[in-house]
């Protein structure tokens, strides 16, 4: 039932190609650009707000080496409560208290979802910076602020950005489910397609969602490449700096 077999698969894929080349699917309120923008509108704000709150908090806790329990239990709870449930549970609450549309429950749910990975990674990233380096930088006379800004944050940056990336990808993925609670975004194609058993639309929507989340992943990998010091990623080799130094000294 609903399964495509053998030669029918080729026809199915042809239908999908036709779906993508149909100009009607690229314009208006149900077109791909509108849906992508809705999806981004659903995802960007929670991620941004979560980053503004959770990253500095995690960094500070890591710097003071306090709040390990908070960071770890938050991560565990974040993982244990299904994102689907978090998203859906906001709806009856919103209806019950007459908060109005789907946007706020979705926003709150995605915000809650985005915080744990960011907080945990910011915390562990800073905390795991080799204590010898931190101590020697203090010994060199750096103030606490400088230790944080010049040593700990740059060294923890890959881990911090990974946290933001994990959050962002998770939020983009879960924003798909917002369609279930009457929201827009790319999930509309999947949910609407499923309800009328139009699997071409489901498939097209699924491809778009997958592409968007892989793109999100890619953007953050790029951010990481651009912001993390080359000395930390190992892109500069020890040998090279030695040679440059030798050349500079004229050895």
């Amino acid at each position: 039932m609903g399964t495509v077999q053998g030669g029918a698969l080729v026809n199915f894929l042809a239908d999908v190609v036709r779906w993508f080349s149909d100009p009607a699917n690229w314009q208006g309120s149900t077109g791909v650009p509108t849906r992508v923008l809705q999806h981004l509108n659903l995802s960007v704000w929670p991620v941004l707000l979560a980053a503004i709150v959770a990253v500095p908090l995690g960094v500070q806790l890591g710097h003071r080496r306090r709040g390990a329990f908070l960071a770890i239990s938050l991560a565990n709870i974040g993982r244990a409560v299904p994102s689907f449930a978090v998203l859906v549970i906001g709806i009856p609450i919103a209806v019950y208290y007459k908060l109005g549309t789907f946007y706020w429950p979705a926003f709150l749910a995605l915000l809650l979802l985005a915080i744990p990975p960011m907080l945990t990674n910011a915390y562990t990233g800073v905390r795991e910076v080799a204590p010898g380096i931190v101590e020697s930088s203090r010994g060199m006379g750096l103030t606490e602020r400088q230790v944080l800004r010049k040593i700990e944050i740059p060294m923890a940056l890959p881990v911090i950005i990974t946290g933001v990336r994990v959050s962002a990808v998770q939020v983009v993925a879960t924003a798909t489910l917002a369609a279930l609670i009457g929201g827009g975004g790319l999930g509309r194609y999947i949910i609407d397609g499923l309800s009328v058993r139009d699997f071409v639309e489901v498939f097209a929507g699924a491809l778009l969602v997958a592409a968007l989340s892989i793109a999100t992943e890619g953007v953050f990998s790029l951010v990481e490449r651009l912001t993390v010091s080359p000395g930390i990623t190992g892109r500069t080799k020890m040998v090279d700096t030695l040679n440059i130094r030798k050349a500079g000294l004229g050895v």
Binding site: M1, T3, I89, V95, L177, G193, G205, A206, A210
Partner: protein
């Protein structure tokens, strides 16, 4: 969307007590879907980890491919699979299994890699064959890391199984979905609480398994 009556309480306990049987069967469905995914995923991961450990160069492509699977949202992956396997358990399990792979493989490989070289050399010097070394030295030492991976995979899978309700496979997600469709908060909350409790219980169970399997870790802590 129809607005719920404000006279309706947030949780109707009488409804909860009269539907305990339903909760039980949904929980069992949920456990079966989770169990199959974890079992099959673990077996495939053992195979791929052996390949990755034997042929080092294959580790990057293996983690890359499983990483791509991991980053595709579950609902999208189900949508991609439906034309091939329909609205079936197979569709759900292919999706669920593919999410466990990256977690399992990373932890198995990291665990075995973490075995100190001196320990391996000592075992070789004592005349261990490579098979015996794997079972009696490497796997026991790697066990905490491997179980850490199993815990993450288990908790993640329990959460993902709620989504399979959307493609009509039951489980605790069905309670959430019913609650949503009828704007009836009680099943929604019951489904959420049960699914989170299930995740935490399985997590705790695996901690106990780890303790039972690594008695030396406890005696070392006691010293």
């Amino acid at each position: 969307m129809i607005l719920a009556q404000t006279t309706e309480p947030f949780i109707r306990w009488d409804w909860v007590w009269s539907h305990l049987g339903l909760f039980w069967s949904r929980t069992v469905e949920h456990l079966v879907l989770t169990g199959i995914a974890l079992g099959v995923g673990f077996l495939i991961s053992i195979g791929l980890s052996i390949v990755a450990l034997r042929y080092r160069k294959s580790y990057t492509p293996i983690t890359w491919v499983t990483g791509v699977f991991y980053s595709i949202p579950s609902l999208a992956l189900f949508g991609i699979l439906i034309p091939l396997t329909g609205l079936s358990v197979t569709t759900a399990e292919i999706g669920l299994v593919s999410y466990t792979l990256l977690i399992f493989i990373r932890n198995i490989v990291a665990g075995i890699d973490g075995v100190p070289q001196e320990v391996r050399e000592a075992a070789l010097g004592m005349g261990y064959t490579s098979t015996r070394m794997l079972w009696q030295i490497e796997i026991p030492i790697a066990l905490p890391v491997i179980i850490a991976g199993v815990r993450i995979a288990a908790v993640t899978t329990v959460g993902l199984v709620t989504i399979t309700a959307i493609i009509g496979l039951g489980g605790l997600g069905q309670l959430i979905l019913d609650g949503l469709n009828r704007l009836f908060t009680t099943p929604l909350i019951v489904g959420t609480v049960l699914s989170a409790a299930l995740a935490l219980l399985i997590d705790y169970g695996l901690v106990l398994v780890e303790r039972a399997l690594t008695p030396w870790a406890r005696s070392r802590a006691a010293l």
